[in-house]
Amino acid sequence: MEEVKLLGSWPSPFVHRVIWALKLKGIKYEYVEEEDVLYNKSEMLLKYNPVHKKVPVFIHGGKPIAESIVILEYIEETWPQNPLLPDDPHERAEARFWTKFEEDKIQKIFGFLMTAGEKQVAATKEAQEVLRIVEEHGLGEKKFFGGNNMGLADIAFGWIATSMEILEQAAGVKVLEANTFPRLKAWIQNFNEIPVIKESLPDRNALLTYYKARRVVFLSAAAS
């Protein structure tokens, strides 16, 4: 079997997605940590992702692929066991639609971490509006975005399940207030109970420290 490598950064939600997909499909891989992906990118990263210079980068038999969703589609096509996408073309289009929605809106959802005072109040409201759409139209009455089983869109939104609480703590604000997002809250619980997800949860304290530090950086950049 050809060598599988993942170039990543431990706090990155984009990297977690690829790890989850690899573990769900039982694919052995070598993980390489980018020591300082923000301020001192490695030669390996610059070589394998010259266009965006970001993680994750997936390398299969020496050939690199960048952008988490592109990587997930590749993994799905190369290793079809435990599929992330349904067979029906319309359902596949639906899964891709919500995956793209997450990609397009993620900045808006993160806004509350990067702001303070009145700006944070506005950013929190914006995040909640997006999450309302996700809950009502994306999730609806289903257990997972993918239906009875988790799929591509669940993986794309997965960081909300594993990290939203930590982000809220780092930012000192509640986005998913009690009783306001019942279906999303139920999905979070279900998602976090999936064995592969449960086993791969990042260290809570380490992630909290990391996001608190990132918040400081964002706020001082905004102030200058």
Partner: protein, 215 residues
């Protein structure tokens, strides 16, 4: 039972054009419905409640939204003719990467040219050429982004050609002067009947933008 295919679109939309080229490549008969974005039809609002945007493909009553998702859907449903994506997973991944790059970079950087002024516009011009140089680099000496034949990335990007006159006029520069390979590539794509019949005249698009801006 015959397939019922409807496309909600706007003639000048580079995103809608992608779908029209895909439908033409596959020889699919469909009903075209022109939308007035200042007065969106109840059908559009019903079929794309989240974004309320075109293009929307309605296949036997079920909607598919987002141009590249629609193109992939078309490729999967009408899979026996004129494949739009490569067959090998690694090449498919590269095609998706570059189509995604076009989506993430080209539209925004072009739009800034006619929505900003002064320093912001100068910065937008710089970004525009950086983006186009990257695409030129990826094209290299190949006739198409897809290699020897027109493919997914070509389809994703060539529709922007119909907006080049808009971009050049507002940006006050010549794309050909900086990126001759891109122009040569676009003209090569236009030799394909499906592309030539779909892309509107550049001056018509320019008039459309002027009307939108109330000029």
């Amino acid at each position: 039972m015959a397939d019922e295919v409807v496309l909600l679109d706007l003639w000048a939309s580079m995103f809608g054009m992608r779908v029209r080229i895909a439908l033409a490549e596959k020889g699919i008969k469909y009903e075209y419905k022109e939308e007035d974005l200042k007065n969106k039809s109840p059908l559009l609002l019903q079929m794309n409640p989240i974004h309320k945007k075109i293009p929307v493909l309605i296949h036997n009553g079920k909607p598919v939204c987002e141009s590249l998702i629609i193109v992939q859907y078309i490729d999967e449903v009408w899979k026996d003719k004129s494949p739009l994506l490569p067959s090998h997973p690694y090449q498919r991944a590269q095609a998706r990467f570059w189509a995604d790059f076009v989506d993430k970079k080209v539209y925004d950087v072009s739009r800034k040219l006619w929505t900003t002024k002064g320093e912001e516009k100068e910065a937008a011009k710089k970004e525009f050429f950086e983006t186009y140089k990257i695409l030129e680099g990826e094209l290299g000496d190949k006739p198409y982004f897809g290699g020897e034949t027109f493919g997914y990335v070509d389809l994703a990007f060539v529709t922007f050609y119909s907006w080049f006159y808009v971009v050049e006029t507002f940006g006050e520069f010549s794309i050909e002067a900086e990126c001759p390979k891109i122009i040569a590539w676009a003209k090569r794509c236009l030799q394909k009947e499906t592309v030539a019949k779909t892309l509107p005249d550049q001056k018509k698009v320019y008039e459309f933008i002027r009307q939108m801006r109330g000029e």
